[in-house]
Symmetry: C2
Subunit: 296 residues, 2 copies
């Protein structure tokens, strides 16, 4: 074989294309929110390509779950973060909807309750983790405590500072115990958020998704972008990197996150367990039964 083949690069992966570099400064303004890295060229192709991922995703999910029945402790946790209207809920509907719901554990984190505030910020997170074989989905997460927590000064600055390391240690303990963490930042533009908020005001079936408080949060856009930059920079680790998904185009967002999940599940390569019983004996016992015990 010629030498150059030995060093042939792997085909480009969505993971490589979207991973936030570890240990480097993050400048969100350098990422176009309407970009489509590695993705299909238009909506029609994007929707079709995502539909083709449904069967492989569901198949890998079943293997992951099946493996857990034989002692495989591995599981996957998808963390979704992003500004209002960035498509966290839409991702759950369109991407997680491709999986068997019985193997998914979904949790949306709102403002913490009084009981939750009385504990460490990681307490409620720990309780919502997926079990072995499951796919966990966090719609918002512990990162809120360094995002709105930082922007709204919900805790003293030193406390906020400590949390980045606490998050990294926490996530490292998860990956050490068999959790594959896929952290996705849904990156939308300021203009796209305005458009989506106005759409909610134009459609009576979307009023319930609108909260006037969203306008006040939007006024803090630069502070939130900075808080995201710090979180992505300090918490994109080798064990649990962040992925930045341009999310102005919903079809690209769905394709990219489906592809990220597919690549991670494929790398896990979960296996159906072997039979831990005597197959032939069980077959004989079933076939040797009276034809119908219910008769007579």
């Amino acid at each position: 074989m010629p030498k150059k083949d030995k060093h042939k690069p792997s085909p480009p992966s969505v993971r490589d294309a979207l991973r936030v570099p570890v240990g480097a400064p993050v400048d969100l303004s350098s990422y176009a929110a309407d970009a489509t890295p590695l993705g299909p060229r238009d909506k029609e192709r994007g929707v079709a390509a995502t539909a083709l991922l449904a069967d492989p995703l569901a198949g890998l999910q079943e293997r992951l779950y099946a493996a857990s029945t034989a002692g495989d402790h591995r599981r996957l946790l998808l963390v979704l973060q992003g500004m209002d209207t960035s498509g966290k809920g839409g991702t759950v509907k369109h991407v997680i909807g491709l999986f068997n719901p019985s193997g998914c554990r979904i949790r949306a984190f709102k403002a913490p309750t009084e009981e939750e505030r009385a504990h460490s910020f990681l307490w409620r997170i720990t309780k919502a983790l997926p079990e072995a074989g499951e796919i966990g989905i966090f719609d918002r997460s512990h990162y809120e405590d360094v995002l709105i927590g930082r922007v709204r000064e919900l805790a003293p600055p030193q406390e906020i500072e400590r949390r980045y390391d606490q998050i990294n240690n926490f996530e490292r303990s998860l990956t050490d115990s068999g959790v594959t963490i896929v952290k996705v930042f849904l990156h939308i533009s300021y203009e796209k958020q305005q458009q989506r908020l106005l759409e909610r005001l134009d459609n009576p079936e979307k009023y319930w998704k609108f909260n006037p408080g969203d306008i006040e949060e939007r006024a803090l856009w630069p502070a939130y972008q900075e808080a995201y930059e710090i979180a992505l920079e300090r918490c994109s680790t080798p064990a649990a990197p962040w992925y930045l998904v341009p999310a102005d185009r919903k079809w690209y967002r769905n394709w990219a996150i489906s592809s990220l999940l597919l690549e991670h599940l494929t790398a896990l390569d979960p296996q159906y367990p072997k039979a831990d019983f005597d197959i032939e004996e069980c077959r004989r016992r079933l076939l040797a039964e009276a034809p119908d015990v219910t008769a007579g």
Copy 2:
């Protein structure tokens, strides 16, 4: 209007066709497990008809959830019971898979843990109930405590006897508080179970679903059928009737349960809430913003 029109019967509903009569003896042998009451005529039509229910189901689910954000406490609880291989898991995959997963709360009940056994049999059930606006799904339920509980004599006979009334009182308290309970017994034949168990032994990707203990449970088929007859007879109440779904044909099972859910959700008629804010003022505020706070 001629008198007969006033008394024109409603079009036949799946609810009416499958409901277990309240207060009457139940003889399971009188129900064919391969019947298709009110249903499409064959698999091709059945699969197509079920696919057509996906959009209406997801639409009603969104309305139910949206209504809960404005104080509507209503929710739906689907209870799935049936012998091994009757298709409880398949129902979750194919029917619940039609919904937005973020509004579904799924719980599979296994043999109770030590902690669960130390409480009333309804304790773990109560903890798994859906929240307002959600669709809850129980794969097995409190009925196991009068099914395997009765057949395997896991509690004294007087205790088992008391449970039927406890269940009826419990379910009545749920319906009184806004829970629509849809209890489905998946009725399969003894021969179909043998066939499905043998299929699991023939397919290495299904070994993990097989347990030799299933053969021992199967030997108690008549006792289980009797326990089901008693449970259906004593716990099919006006507030929470049982539905008997012939389940030898998977495509009919999926169509029938989808149709049952659609009829119940349609009857609830959940409504998108009105705006509780000034729409015009919010629109003005959004449009009056600086074009892009992120610039410069």
